[in-house]
């Protein structure tokens, strides 16, 4: 069976391998691809650039995981809609919104987001609050997408902070191994 000129255009291998097609396909369907079994992703929501840089560096070295940084609540919400995270480390004292408000608003927004990665519908992502505010003053309510699992004080040496984060990673996300 011979193909018409239009059909030949449709089945054109060059077209399917072209950067334009790949970019369009990724934009339309890429966000719903599963990331399970691949590199684990952590979202660090922190407006203190000194802390976020050093924690990102150390976690990458320790676990080879991908650490995304959001420096304000709105950047965090955008990142949560674009990709699924295995763990969220949340600063309590963010500009404009506090930690709980950030997660509640994100949870509400995600209910109406059609392009949300499918993992968000299946799992509750563990959330660790990371703050110099006392633990009793910052507990996040459980929502459809988020589950508060603990608190880490900022006011302690970095090695203790990293040890505690490592503990949460190992407890809450299977497959993590320090390297």
């Amino acid at each position: 069976m011979s193909l018409s000129a239009a059909e030949q255009q449709i089945y054109n291998k060059e077209f399917f391998e072209s950067p334009v097609f790949k970019a369009t396909y990724q934009k339309m369907f890429g966000r719903r691809q599963s990331v399970s079994g691949k590199v684990k992703r952590i979202l660090l929501i922190e407006d203190d650039i000194d802390m976020s840089e050093v924690i990102q560096l150390r976690l990458k070295k320790m676990y080879s995981c991908k650490v995304d940084i959001a420096s304000d609540p709105f950047e965090a919400m955008n990142k949560m809609v674009e990709g699924y995270y295995d763990l969220i480390i949340l600063d309590w004292n963010l500009p404009v919104l506090n930690g709980e408000e950030t997660l509640l608003r994100a949870d509400q927004a995600m209910a109406y987001e059609p392009g949300l990665p499918i993992e968000w519908d299946k799992n509750e992502v563990p959330v660790v609050v990371f703050s110099s505010t006392a633990q009793e003053d910052c507990k996040v309510r459980k929502t459809k997408h988020f589950n508060y699992v603990g608190h880490i004080s900022k006011a302690q040496p970095l090695n203790k902070i990293l040890t505690t984060i490592a503990d949460f990673i190992q407890r809450k996300t299977a497959g993590f191994r320090a390297v």
């Binding site: 203190d48 050093v54 703050s131 110099s132 006011a155």
Partner: protein, 95 residues
């Protein structure tokens, strides 16, 4: 799991440079009455100084945050002065 040499020297240098910048901006904030900025700097220093091994800055951060919350200008000025002195001292002796 070992966390030795956890903070590279260059990150400590950048940290202190940012605190020097904070010090200059705190002085401007005193002039303009920007208490929220002063509170934010105090809060961040309270939270991150110890992590970088600069324990002497933590109580100054607490003092600045408290004074800014109370809008106590005398205590703010003292805390900012102490902050600048401590950061300059670290830069001279530890880096």
């Amino acid at each position: 799991m070992s966390f030795s040499n956890q903070i590279p020297h260059e990150m400590k240098v950048v940290y202190i440079q940012r605190r020097l910048s904070d010090f200059a901006e705190c002085n401007r904030a005193i002039e303009t009455g920007d208490f929220s900025f002063l509170e934010k700097v105090g809060h961040q220093v309270k939270g991150n100084a110890q992590s970088f091994g600069f324990d002497a800055l933590s109580p100054i951060g607490i003092a600045l945050e408290t004074a800014a919350k109370e809008r106590n200008i005398e205590n703010i000025k003292k805390a900012v002065h102490d902050f600048g002195t401590a950061v300059a001292n670290i830069q001279k002796t530890e880096l």
